[in-house]
Amino acid sequence: MSTVTATEPNHAKRVIVAWVVLSAIATPLVALFAGPAFPPGNASAQGAQQVSDNTWMVAVLTPIICLLVVFFAYALTQFRHTGGELVDGPPLRNDNRIQVLWLVASAVVVLFFAGFGTYELLQNGSGGGQGPSPIAVPGGTKLPVQVIAQQWEFTYRYPTYGGLETSELFLPADTTIEFHVTSLDAIHSFWAFELGIKADANPGVDNVAFLETKGPRTFHIHCAELCGLWHGYMFSTGHIVPESQFTAWVKQQQQNFAPVAKYLPPYAKTYYPDPQRRAG
C-alpha cells in the first residue's frame, strides 16, 4: 500500500487492526466452543480424534474467514461509488510484497493442514477404510469383524468365533476392532456415523478399518455409497456392550448359527457369488 496519499486514510492499517482484533476474539471462541461440538463425537478413539482434527482445522480457518469478512465489509462500504459519472480508481497493477506474503501465508497454512492431517491419520487410521494392507494400525490385540455388504443389508462374521455369521452388529466395549469390509455385488460403504468409521465395501476387496471402542452405547449404521434401488433403506442399529454381555451374546448366536453353518461358504476375505445364479 505504498501509494496511499496523505488525503486518504490508511485503509490497510484499519483493515489489519480490525482483522487482528476480530480474529483474536473469534479464534479462541471457535476453538473452545464450536470445535468440540463437531461430529462424530467421542464414542470411539477414532471419533474423538476426528473431533480434535476438526477443531484444529476450524481454528486455523477462523482467522482466514475473519480476514475476508473484514476486507469485504470494509472495501464494499468504503470504496463504494455513487453517482452517475464514471470515475476511475488509482491504477494499482501489482505489489510484489502482497503477492509474496499471500503466497507464503497460504502455503504455510496448506502445508500445516497436510502435515497435521497425515500425522493424525497415522495415529490410528482415523476410522477410514485402508484397503487390504493397512498402513495406520493401532497397537494391541484386535477383534476381527467382517462386514459383508450386499443389496441391501449388512451381515457380519466373527472369524475368531468359528466364522459366526449374524445380521446384527454387537461389539465389545473398550476393545480394538479390526473391520474387514467387503461386498457381494455393488459398491457399498459401511458407515457407523457416531463411531466415526467409514469404509467402502467393494466386491472382491478386503477393506480394513480400525475402531477403538469406548463405553457401551447403540449407534447407527448407514450405507454411504449409492448401491441401487433401496440404498436409502440400507441402515440398521449396532450395539457396543460390556465384555461379559458380548460373550453371552456370542454364545447365544453360536447356538442359532450351528444348524445353518453348513450352508454358508467358509470364512474368507472376499466372496465371489456365482454370477449366473439369480437372486430369488
Partner: protein, 629 residues
C-alpha cells in the same frame, strides 16, 4: 437490401424443407428406429436370454447411435464432406447471414452458436432445476412418500448428470464461443463447423438423457459407478450415451478453443495482453482435451460390459470396480475444475470494469489459472479416501488437494486487490461476482474438511460433500453464469435487461441459495448420506427448511426467466454500445455485433484493463482502418 430479401422469400413450407432442425429431428427419429430394428435383427432372435424381453442393450445403443447420425445428416453436417469429395472448393462458412432461420440449424457464425448454446443449455438447466425441485419434494418428509424409490434415484441421477454434463460447456459454450473470437480480434473460430457440431451433439445428448425414463431410468447417480451400472436398466445406456456425447463435444470444443486462441490472435495481442477470460477459456480447454477422452474410454468399457458381457468392472469375472472409480475420477476431478475455472476468469474479467481499476496482479492471476489446471490432474483419488484403494497414497492426495487452494487463493487475492480503493458500482453483474467470493469461500473452506483424510471419513458421501460441491459448482459457476449473462447479454442481443428485476433476482437467489445449501452442511454432519429416499426423523426440520428454500430458489430462477423474456421479447429497450464503460474490445463494437465482427482486424497495444491510465483505449472499432490506436 433487407426489404428485397423479404420480398423474394419463398413460402414457409418451402423454407422448412432443407437441412435444418426439423429435418434433423425427423431423420433422427427415423434413424433411431432403423438402429433399433437392425440390432434386433442381429441379436434379438438368436439369443434365448434376450428373446423374452422387448429390448436388448445393443438395440438401445444402436438406436441412439443411428438416431444421432440421422440427426446430424438432417442438420447438414455431412453436406460439406460430400461436397468436397465431389470436388467442390473448400469453404469456411455455412448459413451466415441474417434472419431467425439460422438459429435452427447448422450455422458457422460463432455468435449464432453462442446464442444457440445459451438457449439450449438454459433449457436443459431448467429441466435439471425442475428435477432438483422434485428431489426436494420427496425429502419434505423422512418417510418414503412421493416417488417410487427407482423413480427417485432416476430423478437424482438425471439432475446430477444433466447439470454436470451440460454445464461443462455452460460458460465456454455461450460466452466462450461468442466472445473469444471477438476478444482476440478474430472473425471466426478456427474450426467453425466443429464449433456448430459441439453444440448439436450436446443437444442430442440432452434429449437422449431425458429419454432414460422410457427405459426404466438409472440408479447410479451422475457418477455411474460400476458394477451397479452393469446390473441396471437399459436406462443406463442413455446415461452412457449422454456422457459419451458430452465427452466428444467437450473434446472438440476444447481443441477448437485452443487452436483459435493460439493461432488467431490479432496483431499486438501478446500473451500478457490477453483478457483474463480468454486465459480462463484456454486453461479450461486444456482440461477438456486431456480429461474428456478418459471419460469416453471409460464409458466405452462400461458399454462393452453391458452389451458384450465383458468384465472390465465385474470382480466375479476378474475385473475391478476400482478401475471404474479410478478412471471416472481421472476425468471427474478435472471436470469439476472445467466447471469452476471459467467462473474464476469471468469474475476477474468483470471486477475491473465495475471497480474502475486495472486487474491487479495479471501475471499472478494467469499463474493461478495455470496452477489449478496442472494440479487438478493430481488430486482425483481424494474421492476414494475410504474406498481402500492406495491407502498409502492418501497423504499425497491430501497434500495435492490442499495445494490447489494456493492457486484458488490467488484468484481471491487478485480479485480483492482489484476491489481495493476502487470506485465500485453495484450493477447486477458485479453483485453476482461479489457473491462468487462469498460462495466460493464457503465452498473452498468446506473442501478443506473433505480433503483432510481424518475429517473426510465422516463427511465423505454425506450431505456435507453434496453441500460443498453445490457451493462450488452452483455458487461458483451458476452465479458467474448469471454475471456473464447480465454483463454480456446487452452486447449479444442489443437489448437491455431490466436492472430492477435483475437486482431482485440476485438478492432472492443469493439468499435462498445460501439458505438451501448452508443447512445441508449440518445435515451431512449429522449423518444423512447422499442420495437417500428416506432419512432419520430428527433431521426433518432441517430438510424441510432446505426444501422450502430450494423452492424459493426455483422461483428466483423463474423470475430471471421472466426478466429475460420480458426484456428481450416484449419491452425491448435498445442497449447502448458500452453500457458499463468497459475498455474491452467487444464493447467498442456495435450491439449486436455484426456478422463479420470487424471490417478490419484490430491491432492491440495494451491489455483491456487500463482504467485510470493513459492512453485510455486499445480497441479499434469496426470499420476503422487497421493499425489505428
Amino acid at each position: 437490401m433487407s426489404t428485397i430479401a423479404v420480398a423474394q422469400r419463398p413460402p414457409v413450407w418451402r423454407r422448412l424443407v432443407g437441412f435444418n432442425l426439423l429435418t434433423g429431428c425427423l431423420l433422427g427419429i427415423g434413424g433411431w428406429y432403423v438402429g433399433w430394428f437392425a440390432a434386433h435383427g442381429i441379436v434379438g432372435p438368436s439369443i434365448a436370454y434376450f428373446a423374452d424381453v422387448d429390448y436388448n442393450e445393443l438395440s438401445v445403443f444402436m438406436a441412439y447411435t443411428c438416431g444421432v447420425l440421422g440427426f446430424l445428416i438432417g442438420l447438414g453436417f455431412f453436406n460439406y464432406p460430400f461436397a468436397r469429395l465431389r470436388g467442390y472448393p473448400p469453404s469456411l462458412r455455412v448459413k451466415e447471414g441474417e434472419g431467425v432461420g439460422r438459429y435452427f440449424g447448422l450455422c458457422t457464425d460463432h455468435k449464432v452458436v453462442g446464442i444457440q448454446y445459451l438457449v439450449g443449455i438454459g433449457f436443459f438447466f431448467f429441466i435439471g432445476g425442475l428435477n432438483a425441485m422434485l428431489i426436494r419434494i420427496e425429502l419434505l418428509r423422512p418417510d418414503h412418500q412421493v416417488w417410487p424409490a427407482g423413480t427417485y434415484l432416476t430423478i437424482v441421477g438425471v439432475h446430477g448428470t444433466m447439470m454436470m454434463g451440460m454445464f461443462t460447456s455452460g460458460l465456454l459454450g455461450p460466452f466462450g464461443n461468442y466472445f473469444v473470437p471477438i476478444l482476440i480480434g478474430a472473425r471466426r473460430m478456427a474450426f467453425p463447423r466443429i464449433e456448430a457440431l459441439t453444440f448439436w451433439l450436446l443437444m442430442a445428448g440432452g434429449v437422449i438423457l431425458e429419454t432414460t425414463i422410457f427405459f426404466g431410468g438409472f440408479p447410479t447417480g451422475w457418477t455411474g459407478y460400476a458394477p451397479l451400472n452393469v446390473q441396471s436398466n437399459p436406462g443406463m445406456d442413455c446415461y452412457i450415451l449422454f456422457f459419451a456425447l458430452v465427452g466428444i463435444s467437450m473434446t472438440l470444443l476444447g481443441l477448437n478453443m485452443i487452436a483459435t486462441i493460439v493461432t488467431m490472435r490479432a496483431p499486438g495481442l501478446t500473451w500478457t495482453r490477453l483478457p483474463i477470460f480468454v486465459w480462463g477459456v484456454l486453461t479450461t480447454s486444456v482440461l477438456m482435451v486431456l480429461a474428456a477422452p478418459v471419460l469416453i474410454a471409460t464409458l466405452a468399457m462400461a458399454m462393452l460390459d453391458r452389451t458384450a458381457q465383458t468384465s472390465f468392472f465385474v470382480a466375479a469375472g476378474g475385473g475391478s470396480a476400482y478401475l471404474y472409480q479410478n478412471l471416472f475420477w481421472v476425468f471427474g476431478h478435472p471436470e469439476v475444475y472445467i466447471l469452476a475455472l471459467p467462473g474464476f476468469a469471468i469474475v476477474l474479467e468483470i471486477l475491473p470494469v465495475f471497480a474502475r481499476k486495472p486487474l491487479w496482479g495479471y501475471r499472478l492471476a494467469v499463474a493461478g489459472l495455470l496452477g489449478v489446471t496442472l494440479l487438478s490432474f493430481f488430486v482425483w483419488q481424494h474421492h476414494l479416501f475410504v474406498s481402500g484403494i492406495n491407502a498409502d497414497l492418501r497423504p499425497f492426495y491430501m497434500l495435492s488437494t490442499e495445494l490447489i487452494s494456493i492457486p484458488t487463493g490467488i484468484t481471491f487475492i487478485c480479485g480483492m486487490m482489484t476491489l481495493w480503493r476502487g470506485r465500485i458500482r453495484y450493477s447486477v453483474p458485479m453483485l453476482f461476482c461479489l457473491a462468487w467470493f462469498f460462495n466460493f469461500l464457503i465452498g473452498g473452506l468446506s473442501g478443506v474438511f473433505l480433503s483432510d483424510v481424518p475429517s473426510d471419513v465422516t463427511t465423505h458421501g454425506s450431505f456435507f460433500s453434496m453441500a460443498h460441491f453445490h457451493y462450488t459448482v452452483m455458487g461458483g459457476l451458476v452465479f458467474t453464469f448469471f454475471a456473464a449473462i447480465y454483463y454480456w447479454l446487452p452486447k449479444m442481443t442489443g437489448l437491455e435487461l431490466n436492472e430492477r428485476l435483475g437486482k431482485i433476482h440476485f438478492w432472492t437467489m443469493f439468499i435462498s441459495f445460501n439458505s438451501t445449501f448452508g443447512p445441508l452442511f449440518a445435515v451431512g454432519f449429522l449423518g444423512q448420506p447422499r442420495r437417500v429416499v428416506t432419512y432419520p426423523h430428527n433431521l426433518q426440520f432441517l430438510n424441510v427448511w432446505v426444501s422450502v428454500s430450494a423452492f424459493v430458489l426455483g422461483l428466483s430462477l423463474l423470475l430471471f426467466l421472466y426478466n429475460f423474456v420480458r426484456s428481450l421479447v416484449f419491452v425491448r429497450v435498445p442497449a447502448p454500445t458500452d453500457p458499463w464503460g468497459s475498455k474491452s474490445i467487444e464493447w467498442q463494437l456495435p450491439s449486436p455485433v455484426p456478422v463479420h465482427n470487424f471490417d478490419r482486424i484490430p491491432v492491440f497495444s495494451t491489455d483491456p484493463y487500463g482504467y485510470g491510465e493513459t492512453p485510455t483505449s486499445v480497441a479499434v472499432p469496426a470499420g476503422a482502418p487497421a493499425g489505428r490506436d
